[in-house]
Symmetry: C2
Subunit: 501 residues, 2 copies
């Protein structure tokens, strides 16, 4: 049996290795590749994806998984070996359900649709995108139909990234969150806005990069197993558990962009760096789900990086780095600036309080489109109505309205957004547990010490990789279910100090 | 037939793509990879090499090549299609002759032997390397024996990189070159040495990089299809004809290192960038041989980059970049400094006149070892004797003696060195032809114009890629055979102006 199990691991490692090689090609494409490399790079990526897919649906792999079922069943559910077989089987069964021909069509559609979006968005030409979105909705429904027996058509699509999260449950949870958030946003934005002029001076690129790297080193990002490079749209990527990289961008007229994006990506990266090395090359060697991943990037970015304790420690340092720009700016002013709440149009730039409203609008739209309850041609107007209702503003055009995010034009319609809000909710749940175990964490942060928190997260979340689903992990860590309570308590406590709530 | 030909091209492109993906992994390993990435990177490279090798020896490929023989024979020898089939068959037949098991053994040996060298060289411990070198010699003889019918045991090994060059011919050619060079070195080094103190001041890294990039841009290196990064041992690498990169290193106390290594690598790169795009992904889409490749790096580094005309144009620019360091240094002093001839121990740092003596000592040693005419344990002494005879100096130890180069410890013993001297000889032959066609080239260089030369090289050498062997290319370009005359004429003319010869 051990021989078969080793054969399984060998096969899975080849798949994992091919995927990680593809990730390196993607990274290079986004960081250093000269323009002339584009055509061949596309071909190389397609070849690696094809080789990986062939190995992922190899009937020999299915046979091995069948033969290993008795071994799996002889072990405890949470043993490493049983978990490996269980997760590998889940992925294999998912992979073989979708005909390769359909996958090609879908990727071809993503490519066409993305290219159309690149042209249409700057021209504010939503009309040109209607046929692409309509086809996108149809294809995503078809994709869902390869997984019959679902309760909601979005469920199989959500399963791709947030396995086990059900639409009905999320809809209720998000509605509850929206009910709480909308009046808070209203109350806060009726008060005078925070002054963030201190963040909008000229901050040289090299100094911003230096400071960001100093911060994440102190947080616990391991530069022996990672590095940072520049790109247009920051991301985290991984070529092995020993090589987890992040990217960033710098706006010299804004101190917060590079810093918080660096902390955000380092949160994703510390999660991956914290996975047990034994899981290298197996399906367990990655984050549990989109939501759990986002919970960690948001934890480090917001719960840590925008906390008062964090800035009690780091503000003298950033002030020393930028003495002219921050001369006469008090810690309190700076802290309020990095936590400024405002009605805004752009999701990726939104503050902690409004962010989830952006996300939930998109989640609701995905569901309505998939249900055929909303027609693509009515999307722009629906967008404006929801922004008016939730946020109290209206985008001047569709460019910063419905065409704002790349997701629906380069990926699935359905399953693309819930992870962001799930991340905020789960992040607060995990963090509350960490505080319960170690009430000294906030005081430590104010002294620049982050290892108690980091170690707790490694022990309770990171090390497990994908052994457990998000729901299983929440159960193990909190003893309960996904819940917005800790998140709302956190927001009310923090912003209640900054505004009258 | 067209269908079969297209199938051949598809198969060859997959092999080429896998190899180029491997090249990107190597590049990243030498430039940016954090230490923690090493283990998985080795595994990823091995996987890609295995997949590429499987496809290279696929009997279906052999069958296709057989079926395409009538098509090949119906076409002129120098047609693209016939050349593609011919070169693909040459590679296929070579690949299937060596058992995969032997190749694994060989690579395992390289790996062990390289690791031993990394430890033994700094310790000046040649003894520890004797068993590795002995095994290396045995394995290389065995490798040659998979290609029976050779005239000299080194021929099959030379064929791997300089196809068609025969040991007997090279031995005669090199002996002739040595006879000419030894007395010239003697004559020059009896005269007062050039003063190169102006190159040994402090030159900040960023300025050196700037200047080097400015130079190679003007020479014709295309940054839309390439870029430069830093590494320990500079090299050129290619991921497609649209992405040909170079690397460099900087010593802040030496102006010439980064500059000439950058020009050298850009010469390799301009060769690859000049290959016809139709050859992308085929066995024709690379340089003709190690020798022809080196001919171009050495042409741009020496025949161009160390010429008087080049510095008439660039000296005011480098002086403007480093006004303090080069204050009061005349063009003539600077020109003599970058062309300083001296007896030296290290091949990679040798000047134009002595360089080939270093190479030919190594070539002779390879032959003697393979012939079992020289025993590994006698190598250090043989080395010293030859250096005394050819160069008039003796290394203080084996570190800078026989353990100097990595080649024999990480690659074949046999075929590893002749390309360097072949490059110098061929480079001068091609350059002489270019001057015959365009006598204005030296005057143009003095005005910073390099496109006449560059275009001539693209038209006559670069565009053909691997369509022709080195010997065929020399025949086409010069109408004659490989010959040291143009090279010796060049050296005598140039150094006759700098020294009494």
């Amino acid at each position: 049996m051990q021989k078969k199990f080793n054969e399984l691991k060998t096969r899975l490692m080849e798949i994992s290795d091919l995927d990680h090689v593809g990730a390196l090609l993607d990274w290079d494409q986004s960081t250093y590749m000269p323009p002339g490399g584009a055509v061949a790079r596309g071909r190389h990526l397609a070849l690696l994806a094809r080789l990986s897919h062939q190995k992922s649906i190899d009937p020999e792999l299915g046979k091995l998984l069948d033969e290993l079922r008795p071994y799996e069943e002889s072990l405890p559910y949470d043993s490493d070996d049983a978990s490996l077989i269980r997760v590998a089987r889940r992925e294999y069964e998912r992979a073989i359900k979708v005909p390769p021909q359909f996958m090609s069509e879908l990727f071809q559609h993503f490519s066409n649709s993305y290219n159309a979006w690149v042209v249409a968005r700057p021209e504010n030409n939503f009309k040109a995108l209607i046929p692409h979105l309509e086809r996108g909705v149809d294809l995503c429904r078809q994709l869902a139909d390869f997984f019959p027996g679902y309760e909601h058509v979005a469920d199989p699509l959500i399963d791709f990234v947030d396995y086990g999260m059900k639409t009905t449950f999320l809809r209720t949870l998000f509605a509850q969150l929206r009910r709480e958030l909308v009046p808070i946003v209203q109350t806060i934005t009726d008060q005078p806005p925070a002054d963030d002029a201190c963040l909008k001076k000229h901050f040289p690129e090299a100094d911003q990069l230096d400071f960001s790297l100093e911060v994440i080193k102190q947080l616990g990002y391991d530069f022996n197993r990672g590095r940072q490079d520049k790109t247009h749209h920051p991301f985290m990527t991984k070529f092995s558990l020993g090589d987890v990289r992040i990217t960033t961008r710098v706006d010299e007229n804004d101190l917060s962009g590079c810093l918080f994006s660096t902390i955000h990506e380092s949160g994703h990266a510390m999660y991956e760096q914290g996975i047990r090395m034994e899981f290298e090359g197996t399906p367990l060697g990655g984050g549990a789900s989109a939501g759990v991943h986002e919970s960690q990037s948001r934890t480090w970015e917001n719960l840590v990086g925008r906390s008062r304790g964090f800035w009690e420690y780091f503000y003298p340092k950033v002030q020393a780095k930028f003495p002219d720009q921050l001369k006469g700016v008090s810690l309190d002013t700076f802290y309020r600036a990095v936590n400024k709440v405002q009605r805004s149009l752009i999701r990726t730039e939104a503050d902690e309080v409004t962010y989830n409203l952006h996300v939930m609008i998109r989640f609701d739209i995905e569901l309505a489109l998939l249900e055929y309850n909303l027609l693509v041609r009515d999307l722009p107007e629906y967008w404006h109505v929801r922004y008016q209702a939730d946020m109290g503003i209206r985008a001047p055009d569709d460019r910063d309205g419905v065409m704002q995010d790349v997701h629906w034009f380069s990926g699935l319609i359905g399953g693309s957004f819930q992870g962001y809000t799930l991340g905020n909710i789960m992040g607060a749940q995990f963090f509350a547990q960490a505080l319960k175990a170690h009430p000294e964490i906030p005081a430590e942060m104010a002294q620049g010490k982050f290892d108690t928190l980091h170690t707790w997260l490694v022990d309770n979340v990171y090390q497990h990789g994908r052994k457990f689903t998000a729901n299983e992990l929440i159960q193990r860590v909190t003893g309960g279910q996904l819940s917005i309570e800790p998140y709302m308590a956190y927001l009310k406590m923090k912003f209640g100090e900054l505004y009258k709530l």
